[in-house]
Assembly symmetry: C2
Homo-oligomer: 222 residues x 2
């Protein structure tokens, strides 16, 4: 059995900053205080984060980066890949709900942080949208835009319930995402088409044509 | 027959500002220049708008205000009321596409305006979300959040096509919103699609997937 690795400098600085913001307020806390509390120099702080605001969103930067890498891998089903990416974000914050709740409280109280949060959320939406268009050439952009927006909105609503103090198991989000997949007619549990001289394909009426085509790729001879 | 009313001071200032921003750039244009071009005093400008940024979003402020009033009226069907509100926003910008396009170009080029646009869009989403929860007590908040997000995302995508120079008739948005209503099973005309509502297609096994997709385009609701 090995010990857990020590927290990275970045994690330590973020935790120290959130602690100070929660105690003294965002505006009243200086970069000097954060650096001192985390045991790093002022210049290390500025090199690692752009400024005081950025430290609050450091987790999102890392998450966006790792989701981009995850979506760059090949996936059999791009729709569920987006849902899995969204679950990864949820799991990240649910892993340390106390820290996540302190951060949420700070963000809610400072208008400039609240606006930055909205802009950050939109980056997830755009990441999912762009991924779907890339993974499903020929997909109606409205379906990509809509699916990305719905997954993001549903995820945020479920995460916000956790941040407000509710105990929210991951299955709550999973079920909500299942509903999203069904609304777009792309739930993987839909019955598979049979195979004969004549191919009979059965699919939900609302399924985007590009998704029908994608599923048929696996069945029909090239 | 009467003449059209003269444009309000506010409309005149907005038009003058957009004109100057488009010609000289947002950063290089001063409030003094805008005030002079619109024939108002500097203090009138600041009283009417908070600052240079606000003039770019003046239309959104007015729209959000009038949509709030519209949604405060009684509506038989809250879902279609949200769609109608979204169509009102589209019609507003489509009424003067040249002005809307100039504004769009300015917003795209200035990061601080781009972020403010995202925050503004989120205000529509929240307006719709809150309205649905108020109008439909007992509604699962996930449905309110999701429907509001989907309507907003679909609207923005269709409007953006117009802003990028395409000719986009209002019916394009209307059809896209019909799809949103169907995805949530709340379209007033049509039975909701579900996993039980299957389309069965039969085609020769050797038919290229692209051809299958092309033929399905004509059958599936869009």
């Amino acid at each position: 059995m090995t010990d857990a690795p020590p927290p990275s400098t970045s994690t330590r600085v973020v935790a120290a900053a959130i602690e100070l913001f929660a105690e003294h307020g965002f505006d009243a806390t200086s970069v000097e205080q954060i650096a001192r509390a985390a045991g790093v120099s002022r210049s290390t702080f500025f090199r690692q984060f752009g400024g005081k605001e950025d430290v609050v969103f450091a987790d999102h930067e890392e998450l966006l980066h790792s989701l981009q890498a995850y979506l760059d891998e090949p996936h059999d089903n791009p729709w569920t890949a987006v849902c899995d990416a969204s679950l990864q974000v949820f799991r990240h914050f649910a892993a340390d709900p106390d820290l996540a709740r302190r951060r949420y409280t700070i963000v809610r109280e400072v208008p400039v942080l609240r606006n930055r949060e909205i802009v950050t959320v939109f980056r997830y939406e755009r990441l999912f949208d762009e991924y779907l268009r890339r993974a499903l050439p020929g997909l109606d952009p409205l379906d990509a835009v809509g699916f990305a927006a719905l997954v993001t909105a549903v995820h945020n609503h479920v995460l916000r319930r956790l941040l407000r103090g509710e105990r929210v198991p991951q299955t709550t989000l999973r079920r909500a995402l299942d509903d999203v997949l069904r609304r777009f007619g792309v739930h993987p549990d839909a019955p598979p088409p049979s195979d004969d001289d004549l191919t009979i394909a059965a699919f939900p009426r609302g399924m985007p044509v590009a998704e029908v085509a994608r599923r048929l790729q696996g069945i029909l001879p090239r």
